[in-house]
Structure formats: structure tokens, C-alpha cells
């Protein structure tokens, strides 16, 4: 299948300046050589904790921040170099939904005008047509008609997030970027939004790039998963591979840190609790970036930087000890 989005060796360094003279004293390596592809119709999830670089990647794709190096191709076109007609095409076909709908929706605009806005800017549908389309999209995301005349502050969190989704979808984009789309919502509302996103994807043939720290959401939704830590992909594979055969200690730690609902499953689960917290991306540890927290680290891990190593056609891992890992874990259990 053709890739809709292709990211090659993407790097983004942010300069760190001293207060007084603004001298650059170092760089935060927020994204450090990241590559992946998303084929049309797939759901690709970037998973990681704060500081892992996932949101920076998303911002690069959205052209909100300029990469330091590397390329981002959408349908083969270089995103950073888009001009004129291509740029218009991009703006229409790449849309985003963010974590907090109240921040991303203008509180003084009625819902119908919020949804009409992208239609007016990006398409040349007539005025009558615009509001017919608005009604259609509202129905699509499961909002009652009366919401059209309300303002965002008067909507519940779930309703507001539906409006944000409706707004993004009104102009029929190909790629939807989802940045923690449900983490500000209550469990029962989260389920509604996740169901809606899955439904819309099937109905409209959308492609999703999902950014989240919540693994339980990821498994349910995604085809492919990249696990990030301090700017690098530590493991990448199909959802099945990541969840059933995780090969990286960090992936294991992430998986085991999700509070397990089922008490029986909990008894079987081995908990890996990483000591400490992620170091500053300004000076990551030498060798493997997890080496100072990894329970399985050896001397080599501190000196040698592991490469992304192939396990299957779709599954890659960045760990020097990935081959020993399964035996290490079973021995401990």
C-alpha cells in the first residue's frame, strides 16, 4: 500500500539559551532521527511520556515548527517546501484535533460558524451549501441540531471534542492528527469519542496519526505503534507485536505501568517499575537513552548506542539485549 505520510530521519533541536545574553548553551534534542511511514487508511500511534518528542513530531507535520533536518513527505510532497496550490492542498487534507477542545475552539463563535469556517476558507461551496454541510457533519459526529446555535463554553467536554472533530472533518481531509484526543475526558465520554473516531475512520477512509501516552487507548485503535523515549523510537511494530511480543524494556515498563482493571490478569502480570524519571533531553545519558534507568542495562549499554534492529518485516527494536530479554524476564517471574 502507498504511504500517505513518510517521515525520514526527522530531527528537531531546540536551542537552550542563557537568560542574560541569550547565548546558546546547548540543545534539547526533542526529536532525534525519527523515521516511519503511514499507509493510507492506517492508524499509526506515537506513544511516549512527556518529553519523548511525540508532540514535536506532530507539530513538524503540521508545519507549526520547522525541522532541524530530515524530511516529511505527504503523498510524496515535501511538507516543509510546499507552496501555492500544493500548500492549499495540504491545508485542506491535513487536519488536527487536540487534547483540550475548549482551548482550540473560539469561545465567542457559535458551533455552526466554527464548523463553517474551514469550509469557507478551504472550499468554494455556496453559502446555503455551507450550512447544509454543517448540519450533515454535526449529525456525522452525533451531535443534536440544537448544538449548532450554542457556544463552546456551554458544551460538555465530550460535546466540545465532537465539535472539534466535526470542524476538522468538515472539509474531508485525508490525514487527521490526533493529539491526546481523549485524555481530558471522563471515561464514559472517552469511550464515546473513541468509538466515534473508529467509526468515522471506517466510514470516510481516513488515516490517523495518533499521539498519546495512554496505551490502553492505543491498542484498541491502532494498526502500528512507535514507542518513543527522549526523542528516539525505541520500538516500532504492529499493535499485535508491541502488545504481545514487546522487545524493549521501556515498552515492557510502559505496558506494566497501566493500572490493570481485571484483578485476575493483574496477578499474572509482572510489574517493571523503572527507577527515577526521564532525564532532561538536553543531556541524555550516553549509550542507550534508557541505560540509567533500565533494570537490564550492562556496561555496553552505557557506552554503545543501540541501533534500531529488525525483528520482523514490521517490528524493530533499539536495545542491545533484546535477544536476552525474554529469557531474563521469564527467569525473574
Amino acid at each position: 500500500m502507498r504511504s500517505l505520510l513518510e517521515i525520514n530521519e526527522l530531527t528537531k533541536y531546540f536551542p537552550v539559551k542563557t537568560g542574560l545574553f541569550g547565548r546558546v548553551v546547548g540543545y534539547v534534542r526533542a526529536v532525534d532521527g525519527v523515521s516511519f511511514k503511514i499507509s493510507e487508511g492506517a492508524v499509526f500511534a506515537l506513544v511516549g511520556e512527556s518529553g519523548s518528542g511525540k508532540t514535536t513530531i506532530l507539530r513538524c507535520v503540521l508545519r507549526l515548527t520547522e525541522p532541524t533536518s530530515g524530511e516529511i513527505l505527504i503523498e510524496g510532497r515535501n511538507v516543509t517546501q510546499l507552496r501555492g496550490k500544493d500548500l492549499k492542498w495540504f491545508r485542506r487534507n491535513v487536519q488536527a484535533v487536540f487534547q483540550n477542545p475548549y482551548l482550540s475552539l473560539n469561545p465567542r463563535m457559535k458551533v455552526k460558524d466554527l464548523i463553517a469556517e474551514p469550509l469557507k476558507t478551504h472550499t468554494n461551496v455556496s453559502k446555503n451549501e455551507v450550512y447544509r454541510k454543517v448540519a450533515e457533519v454535526l449529525a456525522l459526529v452525533g451531535l443534536p441540531e440544537i448544538v449548532a446555535n450554542q457556544y463552546p463554553p456551554n458544551l460538555s467536554g465530550g460535546q466540545a471534542q465532537r465539535v472539534a472533530i466535526a470542524r476538522a472533518l468538515s472539509i474531508e481531509p485525508k490525514l487527521l492528527l490526533l493529539d491526546e484526543p481523549t485524555s481530558a475526558l471522563d471515561v464514559s465520554v472517552q469511550a464515546q469519542i473513541l468509538n466515534l473516531l473508529v467509526e468515522l475512520k471506517e466510514k470516510l477512509g481516513l488515516t490517523y496519526l495518533l499521539v498519546t501516552h495512554d496505551l490502553s487507548v492505543v491498542r484498541y485503535m491502532s494498526d502500528y505503534i512507535a514507542v518513543m523515549y527522549l526523542g528516539k523510537i525505541m520500538e516500532i511494530g504492529t499493535a499485535e507485536e508491541i502488545f504481545s511480543e514487546p522487545k524493549h524494556p521501556y515498552t515492557l515498563a510502559l505496558l506494566s505501568s497501566v493500572p490493570e482493571l481485571n484483578p485476575q490478569a493483574k496477578k499474572l502480570k509482572k510489574k517493571i517499575i523503572l527507577p527515577g524519571e526521564p532525564p532532561s533531553p538536553m543531556n541524555p545519558p550516553s549509550g542507550c537513552r534508557l541505560s540509567n534507568r533500565c533494570p537490564y542495562a550492562t556496561k555496553e549499554c552505557v557506552t554503545e548506542e543501540p541501533k534500531l534492529t529488525k525483528i520482523t518485516e514490521t517490528h524493530y527494536v533499539r536495545c542491545l539485549r533484546h535477544e536476552d530479554l525474554s529469557s531474563l524476564i521469564t527467569r525473574e517471574a
Binding site: D186, N195, E277
Partner: protein
């Protein structure tokens, strides 16, 4: 440990007075906590969990009015304390930590100043004694490099470290009850796992009585032996956490559990709860879940269902379990 009733909340009702009207945040809640218990209060946003926690820790905001009920701590009604007595309980017998650990600390003081202040004030320790104890407390919450942390200002610590320091501060007065309100909600998942692990160990080591407030049922399962489920200001059911998760009684709890995306679920739809939360200015007269409940009957709208006992250790406020009155 003898099973004395440490805390007994009875028919507690709390309103907030706001410009938009009176918000009935907690309605007619009763619960008991024994020494060494760990009770989780689970509910979605706005269900009244924090209000209940703040009431027990004597920290309700000014616009809150306790309309009725009592909170007996070792037999003494905390709601009837004289102003001069509050200090003997608040932060001393009952401590509380919050979602944002920064709220515990004054940004202008170091962690060490904060801790030694509490210790000198509560126990009349000398500076040296207080410093020594502060180091012990930081060790107890597994903070490394205690000397450095004593000199650090709150903003110099990561979220996880600051929450540990807040736990140390809360425990510095040797409270009998610790109330933790969403203590890991702002943290990364691996840090959350550490803090939950710490809370579990402290519970064991100090025989701490814990009330944990969370919206995450998985966390309830990791930490607490008992769970109370709240919805729209009321307590819908209570019982052993494992029983509630494996065999929820209240229709709301059952729906809520099905809505949680679990890590083993690979496909299909999540079930969700249709409808919206009731307006707390004007909550339903009967069961608060009545508008969203598939099993509702006309009787459900008549009056707030009473609690029915199930299997001795559980209770549920739903007419479906009528027959065995509490």
C-alpha cells in the same frame, strides 16, 4: 489491629453557593473507615469526590455549606469543632495530598524549610531535630540525595519528586488518615506506577489508613481493598474493590467498567453510557442515574433509592436489589 471505627461519615450533604445557583455537590453520603483500611472513592468529573475529601480533611472552601450530616472521627464530630480545635485535626490527624503537588508548597520556601516548619510547629522540635527528621521523611518516600532536595525549591523538582515530597509533608505529622486526591493524574504513566507503588508500601509499613480519590478504576484495583462509587454527588455502591470490578452491582458501575478501554481489548466497540450527567443545581429527585439507566422503572424517579445489603460486605443504592434492607 482492632477494628475500631476510625471515621464515620453520616448522611453528609454539602452545597456550594455560586452566582449560577446552589450546587448540590454531595448528597446524603454515609461511609465508614476502619483503622488500616484503604478506601477508594471512584467517580467521574464533578461527582463530588474532592468535596467529600475536603470535608473530611476540614478543608472545604468558603463558599461550601455543610447542610446536614456528621463526620465522626474517633467518635468526635469534626463538623462541630470549635475554631480553636480545628488545628488539632486538620493536617495532623487527617492529612491530604492533591493532584498538583505544587499546591502543598509555598513556591518561596525550600522543601527543607517547609518540612522543618511543620515539624517545629507540631512537635516543638529544635532546628537540628527537625532537619534530622526531615531527612528521614524524604528517605521514607524514597527520595534520593536528601541534602540536595532539602535545599531545592518546589519548581526545581520534577512532578514525581514533588509529589513524593508532598507525601512526606503530609505524613510528617504522623496522621492517622491520609486522603490522596488524584495523586497521580498529572504524572506520566511510569511515574504514576512508582507513586502507586510507594503509596502501597507506606500503607503497609505505617499501617496507614488511606482514602484514595480517583477517576481511574484500575488505580482503585491496584491500591485499595474497598471502593465506593460516586455519581452526581451520591454514593451508589460500596464494597470490596475486587467484587466491584468483577461483579458490579449498580447499573452505572456496570456501564462504567465496560466503558474502560482495557489493554487486552483489540477490536470492537467500547460500550459507552448514553446521555449526560445531571445538572447538580437541580438533580433528579429519585435515583441520580435514572435518566440514563436502561433498567429504570417509575419507582426509580420517586425518591433516592436506599441502600440494600448484598452478601454482607456490599451495599448498593438501586431498587433492583430491594428486599434486604440495610
Amino acid at each position: 489491629m482492632s477494628e475500631e471505627k476510625l471515621l464515620k461519615v453520616s448522611e453528609l450533604t454539602i452545597h456550594y453557593h455560586t452566582v449560577e445557583g446552589i450546587i448540590k455537590a454531595v448528597r446524603n453520603i454515609s461511609l465508614e473507615v476502619n483503622v488500616g483500611d484503604s478506601l477508594c472513592i471512584v467517580g467521574e468529573s464533578g461527582s463530588g469526590k474532592s468535596t467529600l475529601g475536603l470535608a473530611i480533611s476540614l478543608s472545604l472552601p468558603k463558599n461550601a455549606v455543610v447542610v446536614s450530616g456528621s463526620i465522626l472521627y474517633k467518635g468526635r464530630d469534626l463538623l462541630k469543632l470549635k475554631t480553636s480545635e480545628v488545628g488539632r485535626y486538620r493536617g495532623k490527624e487527617i492529612s491530604m495530598i492533591f493532584q498538583d503537588p505544587a499546591t502543598t508548597f509555598n513556591p518561596l520556601f525550600t522543601i527543607g524549610e517547609h518540612l522543618t516548619d511543620i515539624l517545629r510547629h507540631h512537635f516543638g522540635m529544635s532546628r537540628e531535630e527537625a532537619l534530622e527528621r526531615a531527612v528521614e521523611l524524604l528517605k521514607m518516600v524514597r527520595l534520593p540525595d536528601q541534602a540536595r532536595i532539602l535545599h531545592a525549591y518546589p519548581h526545581e523538582l520534577s512532578g514525581g519528586m514533588l509529589q513524593r515530597a508532598a507525601i512526606a509533608a503530609a505524613l510528617s505529622t504522623n496522621p492517622k488518615i491520609l486522603i490522596a486526591d488524584e495523586p497521580t493524574t498529572m504524572l506520566d504513566v511510569t511515574t504514576q506506577a512508582q507513586i502507586l507503588d510507594l503509596i502501597n508500601s507506606l500503607k503497609r509499613e505505617l499501617n496507614l489508613t488511606l482514602i484514595l480519590i480517583t477517576h481511574n478504576l484500575g488505580i482503585a484495583g491496584e491500591v485499595c481493598s474497598r471502593t465506593a462509587v460516586m455519581y452526581a454527588g451520591t454514593l451508589l455502591e460500596e464494597g470490596p474493590t475486587e467484587d466491584i470490578i468483577l461483579n458490579p452491582l449498580h447499573p452505572y458501575t456496570a456501564k462504567l467498567i465496560k466503558a474502560v478501554p482495557i489493554i487486552t481489548k483489540t477490536q470492537g466497540r467500547l460500550s459507552h453510557i448514553p446521555g449526560v450527567l445531571p445538572d447538580l443545581r437541580n438533580p433528579p429527585k429519585g435515583c441520580p442515574f435514572v435518566d440514563r439507566c436502561e433498567l429504570a422503572t417509575p419507582e426509580c424517579s420517586a425518591s433516592q433509592p436506599e441502600y440494600f445489603r448484598v452478601g454482607g460486605v456490599r451495599r448498593v443504592a438501586c431498587i433492583l436489589y430491594g428486599g434486604e434492607h440495610e
